[in-house]
């Protein structure tokens, strides 16, 4: 009996203490699905306090994972971090709603290039995507190990800067020394650029053949395919591979410097050009009421001066509001220096990502290439 009383009392206490935590916040709830880094505590906590709301965060590692999660339960999320190449896909799947940019007081602060670029124009006169930052795919090389072997693949572009050719990805001398991100859109588009295709997001049948030939050679030369920031960093610092194509360039630059191994590595842009993603927010169709208000406030905060400064500091990618430029770390300024420049002045050809001609075919093409390896 005594045991039962103690058990009941404990249960009552647990319930009692859980009530404040379970109680809905006055300001409502904002549910975010995003890449790691886009919902940092340094701005999420003040946001929650300012609007007396709760921010629920779910992370996803790839654009495909974002889409799959949203498609499976669109009502579960209010805003989703999304790159320029996926806006059409979300729109076609009926997952997103137009964003009333007149309710974003910081919207005019976004650079003209990003406001006017037609990358996300899926319905005339309407905005479905608000950009927050941009980035490209390029190389990180362990120059301390590779050394002079890299020379034949480098080109000077002035100002003491060099760019690196994609040829390095298929060079027999670098067999099992290279890696790349295991994501179909990135690898198919970049290998298309390397194959001389100038429209990497709209491949014809002939383009597909050229791209597959090129990508198969890259894949055969790779030691491992990376799965995101952590696996990429582990492979590079563990010296299991020395050359990596990466989209996490700025984050890696900060992390490698923090770890004290920054000097061993050099970042290079690809000579032939590269793809550029413009990350931003989309609002899901079912979002309304307080959640919609919070969604707009969160987006507005992130494009404002303070939000952009924090983003430059924490993430390091190119920002879309120049007022936030003071946030860049020295590692980013020195190593991924192109993010401190205007996107108009990017030193190599830059292809802004738009939805590919057939995203599913790209996924399956990449899967087929991988499936043929190791036999």
């Amino acid at each position: 009996m005594k045991k039962l009383s103690v058990l009941l009392l404990s249960l009552c206490l647990v319930v009692l203490f859980s009530i404040p935590a379970m109680a809905a916040k006055e300001g409502g709830t904002l549910s975010i699905l995003c890449f790691f880094g886009y919902a940092d505590d340094s701005w999420v906590k003040p946001f929650e306090e300012k609007y007396d709301c709760e921010v629920k965060i779910t992370y996803a590692g790839t654009v495909e994972e974002h889409f799959t999660k949203t498609k499976a339960a669109p009502g579960l999320y209010n805003i989703i971090s999304n790159d320029s190449g996926r806006v059409q896909m979300y729109y076609d799947a009926g997952l997103i709603q137009p964003i009333d940019v007149s309710r974003l007081k910081n919207y005019p602060k976004i650079g003209k290039y990003f406001r006017d670029h037609p990358y996300a124009e899926v319905e005339p006169g309407k905005k479905f995507h608000v950009p927050i930052c941009w980035g490209d795919q390029d190389f990180i090389v362990n120059t301390a190990v590779v050394g002079d072997r890299l020379k034949p693949y480098l080109t000077d572009i002035g100002g003491g800067r060099q760019v690196l050719s994609y040829r390095v990805m298929k060079a027999p001398q670098f067999k099992d020394m290279v890696t790349m991100f295991d994501e179909s859109t990135n690898v198919t588009s970049m290998s298309a650029i390397a194959a001389g295709i100038t429209h990497p997001f709209n491949l014809s049948e002939a383009d597909y053949e050229a791209m597959i030939t090129e990508l198969s050679l890259w894949a055969k030369n790779c030691r491992q395919f990376t799965l995101g920031f952590d696996s990429e960093k582990a492979i590079l610092t563990g010296e299991d591979a020395y050359i990596s194509i990466t989209g996490n360039n700025a984050i890696e630059a900060n992390a490698l410097v923090e770890e004290g191994v920054g000097d061993k590595f050099t970042h290079y842009l690809p000579t032939e050009g590269t793809i550029c993603w413009i990350d931003g927010w989309v609002i899901t169709k079912p979002t309304k009421g307080k959640s919609l208000d919070l969604a707009l406030k969160y987006i507005d905060y992130m494009i404002g001066d303070a939000g952009q400064t924090l983003l430059a500091e924490k993430v390091g990618f190119g920002i879309i509001n120049p007022a936030g430029g003071g946030g860049y770390t020295d590692a980013v300024k020195e190593r991924t220096w192109w993010y401190t420049m205007s996107i108009d002045e990017f030193p190599v050809p830059l292809y802004i990502m738009v939805t590919e001609e057939d995203p599913e075919r790209r996924v399956n093409t990449w899967l087929e290439i991988k499936a043929k390896l190791g036999f």
């Binding site: 790839t62 495909e64 994972e65 889409f67 799959t68 498609k71 896909m89 076609d92 799947a93 099992d176 179909s184 894949a219 055969k220 790779c222 030691r223 491992q224 395919f225 799965l227 696996s231 582990a234 563990g238 010296e239 299991d240 599913e360 996924v363 399956n364 899967l367 087929e368 991988k370 499936a371 043929k372 390896l373 190791g374 036999f375």
Partner: protein, 300 residues
């Protein structure tokens, strides 16, 4: 000691069916209900999904065999299935060879600290799956434990790159992951063998080797098969280890299934591949049940 066949009928006891008494029948309902919810329903849903088809960004309700036909049309998928089979077979065989001596010595030879050793062998199960995999990266990598030690000893000048990011690394890690699952049934089977049987074998002149071959090994076959089956099924469906340690040539069927669900948004094709994997596991389970069961009772 008498075998069951030698016992008179009145000593065998009346064999009762599970549902002979209404009370047993009622008590079985929650179990059946539970099994239905957590095992049978998901499998049925997966089976139905495998006959549906992806149309644009939606999944059509029309049932078709197209996903299964697509799998058959792609030789690379069949090759990957065979590779998965081979790696799972190697890993589960290695797990048996690694676990059997451990289980044998702990259950039969060690008197003091037996439970501590048992716990030490199953302790990895308390650690996150991913952490255990990453640990192997730290062991097998170019700057990992093995390479660093060999280089420090002056045995090699360059790191041995064949240790990581290939099928070898996948097989080794799957073996390590499977060891506790093989060890537990083996230990149980070995521990249950009556000492009198071994004494009897010795009395009849059998040496240690012959006692092992003729008495111990046959009696622990059910445990051996259960362990093998668990290791094989765990290895066959894994996708995290090949993804983390398999390099470019370590892809297994689990990775294709994961890609279909996570990247291509082709749930029906992923479900069809998953159902094929499930069917293989079910066949293996049935075979092990058939050959691994030992009926009868031992009376002292």
């Amino acid at each position: 000691m008498k075998s069951m066949k030698e016992l008179p009928n009145n000593k065998r006891g009346k064999k009762r069916g599970v549902f002979d008494k209404p009370r047993s029948y009622i008590m079985g309902i929650p179990i059946i209900f539970w099994l239905l919810i957590i095992i049978i329903t998901p499998v049925i849903l997966m089976l139905i999904m495998s006959f549906r088809q992806k149309v644009g960004y939606d999944i059509s309700n029309i049932l078709t065999l197209s996903n299964y036909l697509e799998i058959l049309k792609k030789p690379s998928y069949v090759k990957i299935l065979l590779r998965s089979f081979r790696i799972a077979l190697i890993a589960s065989t290695l797990a048996i060879f690694a676990s059997y001596p451990l289980a044998y010595y702990i259950s039969r030879k060690i008197r003091k600290g037996r439970h501590l050793l048992f716990m030490l062998i199953i302790a990895p199960l308390w650690i996150s799956y991913l952490v255990r995999i990453i640990a192997w990266r730290a062991i097998l990598g170019n700057k990992g434990l093995i390479n660093s030690t060999l280089m420090a000893l002056g045995l090699i000048k360059e790191p041995l790159s064949f240790l990581l990011y290939n099928q070898f690394a996948v097989a080794i890690t799957l073996t390590y992951i499977s060891i506790p699952f093989v060890f537990i049934p083996l230990y149980t089977a070995l521990e249950k063998i009556p000492v009198n049987l071994i004494d009897a074998a010795r009395d009849l002149g059998a040496n240690e080797f012959h006692t092992f071959i003729n008495v111990i090994l046959p009696l622990c076959i059910p445990g051996l098969l259960t362990g093998f089956m668990l290791a094989f099924i765990i290895s066959l469906g894994d996708y995290i280890i090949p993804m983390q340690l398999g390099g470019t040539g370590g892809m297994m069927l689990g990775n294709i299934i994961w890609s279909q669900f996570g990247f291509a948004f082709n749930w029906p094709l992923g479900a069809a591949l998953g159902f094929i994997l499930f069917s293989i596991a079910a066949v293996i389970l049935a075979i092990t049940q058939k050959f691994g069961s030992r009926e009868g009772m031992l009376y002292e």
